[in-house]
Subunit: 416 residues, 2 copies
């Protein structure tokens, strides 16, 4: 999106291909998963955003392979191929289950609107089933929620769930006391929010404990079954596990024919192009680049700045000017933990609490795309803040497409 927009004054034909029709504001996805926002509040049609940019054509499609020598990308639908002069690959990452693909169908990740709707459905259904059940053990199992992974997504989810159980739901049930809900956060390392300074990790840890979240540090998930999560010898009975523990690169990376790192990301040059093919760029979560001795993190800022940088480099190349190496400017990081609770790491400013929370709120509303969404989100937040209710407690649909992680590999092999 940022690359396409940065090319708006260039005399080029830009084709933007995405497997969804919408641009998703990922930082608020956990709020859709927890019934605070509707999917349409954080997603805007891509072609609507670009409607005035006449040099862009948008295709809804799933790119299954790139043939870098033939300079062609292949779409899944219609078996269509699209030729290119320059290619920008920004297919990102998805949940990694650390060689346990079977866990995926039990413990959903949180990357797409479908994921968010699935998690929303699952946690709301858990309370419905508990209300129907007469067995105290089954009820306790249903009312135990486990989140694997103590990064921003995991912390945000854990911060919201106790609030919902204690405030939004407890008057609505007759046979269960939703305030007995347990929320357990499992983190493999020694602290939550590992990317933040230690003092802010401690702040977030304290905030989560105050909310009643049980935090297990240095804990590794050894098995996930439909009825339990195992941490070594320990077994936690639960029907709801949310996976926020790791990322794996999009499988498109393999078809580029260049070196990948251990998690499948493309090792790129300083200008974000790939070796031997200066016309192919990889940006965002899919790219691996070390700058000033630090690996670029897989966050939105890097992806957005990368998009604008490669657009500039495409224009430079066409004009016969030299390319510029990519330089990442970290504007700071924020994570929210719950009502009035957040941490902010912005240059010299390292704060937790109410100020950080207001900063978080302001920045997220500012970055949210489309005026209508901003108004809608503000209203829903005000509603949730003052009433302690959740506006979007809908259980819709009954099935979920299970993604087969390797479904694209055959097509990729064919394309070579």
């Amino acid at each position: 999106m940022n690359a396409a927009r940065a090319l708006r004054h260039a005399d080029l034909d830009v084709t933007l291909i995405d497997r969804t029709n919408h641009h998703l504001f990922q930082p608020l996805l956990y709020q859709v998963a927890t019934a605070a926002l509707a999917p349409s509040d954080i997603a805007v049609p891509i072609r609507w955003i670009l409607r005035h940019q006449k040099n862009v054509t948008v295709f809804l499609g799933d790119v299954v392979a790139v043939a870098v020598d033939a300079r062609v990308v292949s779409l899944d639908q219609d078996h269509r191929s699209i030729a290119y002069d320059y290619l920008i690959v920004a297919t990102g990452s998805r949940q990694s289950y650390f060689r346990h693909p079977a866990w995926e169908s039990i413990a959903p990740g949180l990357k797409t609107l479908e994921d968010a709707a699935h998690i929303r459905r699952q946690f709301l259904l858990a309370f419905e089933e508990a209300e129907r059940s007469d067995d105290p053990t089954v009820r306790a199992t249903l009312m135990t929620f486990v989140v694997a992974g103590g990064g921003p997504t995991g912390v945000e989810l854990c911060g919201v769930l106790p609030d919902i159980a204690r405030n939004a739901l407890y008057r609505d049930f007759r046979r269960i006391d939703t305030r007995q809900t347990r929320v357990i956060l499992i983190e493999g390392s020694s602290r939550v929010l590992g990317a933040f300074p230690e003092q802010l990790s401690a702040h977030a840890h304290h905030d989560l404990e105050q909310l009643g979240v049980e935090i297990r540090l240095n804990a590794l998930v050894t098995n996930v079954t439909p009825d339990a999560v195992h941490i070594g010898e320990e077994c936690i009975p639960t029907r709801t596990v949310i996976w926020a523990a790791g990322n794996a690169a999009s499988p498109i990376a393999k078809s580029l024919g260049v070196q990948l790192d251990s998690v499948g990301r493309v090792i790129v040059n300083a200008d974000l192009s790939i070796n031997g093919h200066p016309e192919v760029f990889v940006i965002g979560d899919l790219a691996y680049l070390v700058e000033n001795g630090r690996e670029l993190p897989g966050v939105a800022q890097v992806a957005m700045q990368g998009g604008r940088a490669v657009a500039r480099n495409v224009i430079c190349t066409i004009r016969g000017q030299p390319r510029q190496p990519f330089h990442y400017v970290n504007k700071g990081e924020l994570a929210t933990i719950g009502r009035n609770k957040a941490v902010a790491d912005i240059g010299p400013l390292k704060v937790g609490g109410r100020l950080a929370w207001w900063l978080w709120l302001f920045i997220h509303i500012t970055y949210l795309m489309g005026f209508r969404n901003r108004v809608s989100v503000l209203i829903q937040w005000a509603y949730a803040y003052f009433t302690y209710q959740r506006g979007v407690r809908l259980i819709i649909g009954t099935e979920r497409r299970t993604r087969s992680p390797d479904s694209t590999s055959v097509d990729i092999a064919d394309a070579h």
Copy 2:
């Protein structure tokens, strides 16, 4: 819902069972299907509505059979049975495909939020595919939308689609002209909105033609395939057919063991109870009753008034007082055709046009449940009215559960 609320002061244990967790404001469902409103705008959790009514317990569950002699209803999940002293059956109707069940997977109806999301997805995808296609015939097929059934739902859908194609979408596409979209309404009888006075039918017909809708009266669908709709000898190539042509009673009716009418509705007594079982009532679309020589129509007003009437009769029976026969008071009917276009039939008032449209707007906002929804819907309507845009153009999910119309019949047989 109305029966449960009317029992709020009674010293009774009320159990409300529904297969969804939400109460749906059906009259605005077509706006979800056409991307104007989000599902959460017109649906509110049932247990949230009843949170302060302590004598009600809400269960999410699918009632698959009623054993009237044993006084027990059976749920699908958990194979749980619930005993009753009084039973109110309000399971409504669903789409009827007139003995062509195969059409259901091609031509979705519009009864549930899932249906609405499916239709939204299908019509948005049609434009996406047309943009990808190079074949003018395929494009024309994709950009032809057929609505079967000229009742309020069919008319409302047909009134919205040309507006979307002409205003909301046309700047967003580069390779197709969305203004060439064809919308075809097929109606079996000699006029649209058959339940309204003839002058208002004519008004609606004129309005639809002004919007560019092609209306086929006295036309019967003889076949539906993935690529076309057949009307006798004529074949209309299309990929999107929406079915608003007929209703069939919920299959629960069969398990009551009493006489049904030709479309499977339960023939009820004047107090809405069934023959031989004065403790069992049937209300809403599932009941067949003739009052003053006129069959009660399958509309929300009848269902709501019926719910309150049976609640009063339950209380009368417990107190040893005689029951009152049900009397339906028709408050009038409204249907909207599009921007500033509607018809109203309210007592002596029979009007079309702008006044009817404002009436429609006012009444629907008034009846919409929950303050938050009203504000949200008002904002989205104002947004759509002034910008001609659609706020909820999301394509989410890729599969749809196909309902097997007879999946419950075995369980019902078992229950006897």
